[in-house]
């Protein structure tokens, strides 16, 4: 059975490209593009891996990560955080809140596929 990845990202063309890429790689892909209700959507969908952008409309990826790590069904889901800022303090904050990996934009297609395979396990 295909593994399920949920992509929470607000750039439509990134969503389209990454979705296409991951689908071709055998993933079951679902997407969500705003921060307001992202935590509820994540809990409802219970993905095998979560790709979470930091800067989202309505609520930041950091807040969403803190929320899902605090309670509910996704406390242990592997999370790959995406950000346009590669600053050390952002990485440290992501790690402190429970991100599994941190990736800086722009990333390559190979990088994201390889990372998701590592996070999803065998």
């Amino acid at each position: 059975m295909n593994k399920h990845v949920l992509l929470v990202e607000d750039e439509p063309n990134i969503i389209e490209a990454v979705s296409f890429l991951l689908s071709r790689d055998g993933w079951c892909v679902s997407t969500h593009s705003n921060g307001h209700d992202a935590a509820d959507v994540i809990r409802a969908k219970q993905p095998d891996v979560l790709v979470l952008d930091v800067m989202l409309p309505g609520r930041s990826g950091f807040d969403i990560l803190e929320d899902i790590r605090s309670e509910g069904a996704c406390m242990d889901v592997p999370v790959l955080m995406l950000t346009a800022r590669g600053q050390t303090k952002d990485r440290e904050r992501a790690e402190r809140l429970g991100a599994t990996r941190f990736m800086t934009k722009p990333f390559s297609n190979a990088e994201i596929i390889e990372t998701l395979h590592e996070l999803s396990g065998p």
């Binding site: 750039e11 063309n13 990134i14 389209e16 490209a17 990454v18 296409f20 890429l21 071709r24 800067m55 346009a84 800022r85 934009k105 722009p106 990333f107 390559s108 297609n109």
Partner: protein, 456 residues
Amino acid sequence: MRRETLTGSRIRERRLINGQKQADLARKAGISASYLNLIEHNRRRIGGKLLLDIASALGVEPMSLSEGAEAALLGALREVAAMHPVEQSELERVEEFAGRFPGWASLIEALAQRQSSLEQTVVSLTDRMTHDPQLAEALHDMLGAVTAIRSTSSILVETDKLEPEWQDRFHRNLNEDATRLTEGSQALVAYLNDETSEHQQVTTPQDEIEAFFQRHGYHFALLENGGSDTQAHDAIESMLENADDLLVSASARAQVKRLLIRYWSDAQAFGFDAMLDEVSNVGLEPASIAAKYNLDIGLVMRRFANVPGDVLRPLLQNSPYDIAEAGLGLAVCDSSGTLTMRKPLPRFALPRFGAACPLWSLYQALSRPLVALRERSQLSGRDGAPFETLAFAAPVSAPQFGAVPLLEAHMLMIPLSASGAAQNMEPLRPIGISCRICPRSECAGRREPSILAGGV
């Protein structure tokens, strides 16, 4: 702080006014004359009962001997010592130091204040670069577009047998993101160049001066109409008063005032209408026009740069030039090469900080005074704009035997049209703005690496 404001000095001053001998005052205060001598020369601290006794013996209020700036100065010196630790034994002698060397003590205090002020400026500028929401949002948006382009283009290149509908969709996305990236980068450059929010961007005297001249389009009708010295003075003061929002620093105000006085003087020497007639008759020929009117070539070049583009353009219709709204660009430098007057053009930026491109004819002129240089150049970059530059350097100080004269160089930048650039078979001379933003890796004039990746 003057030495006389210190307690010991005040005691001595008051005693001399009273006509008392040091020994008499010492005896009345119950101390030795040698100890009083040390006090009077600010080499011993004084306070408490002894201060009261001496004040009583002098017939003055104790406060009149001890109040004032002394405490503030000593406090400031101790603060400096806390920031830059000194030997404890020396710290204990701070009052003696302030008393014996009041000038040096005040200088230390002033330098510490200056350092604190500059540190605050650095912090605020760093904070702005790090946390400026407009900057952060613009960069985030651009990186989003770059990420989408990178991912999409990789899919198009690396995916075998991509279905036509997906190809179409990704091509469309690429076009959208490329447009977004272009618009985002242009907006970012405009923001950093102070074109969209001049008030928020003004940070240095040079920025303030440039913002002031940009507001007026480098043309001041009030100074073109002749009039008396008094009228010109009033007009300049009025313009300065109305620019409180831009000219924040005293340095910028002083420099703008100097430049406006020179503008008025130039306009008096070479009237606007006469200048337009000459340009219409002979074109942009500052050397021949200067000779005809017995003027400095630099003055004529400055006057050319004062003409708005829409006034100049009809006069140069059959020329190789492509005059836009901004008119002609101008750079003026002193003997050190420092730019003292800058009128950049949209496609010919002038560096705000640091030195410019050493290949500019402006700097060649400095090494060849009184030789009029005309050169056809092309700026570095993907859409390097062609320009004709006219440069001339002349002494600004009166000649003296045994003294090398100070020079001032002018460079006029005239945009060339595409056909104008192609008229001459000789290749355009490549130049840049400054090494930091010039992509030409193979350049004999390079001083430092470029921040731009790749060369041309």
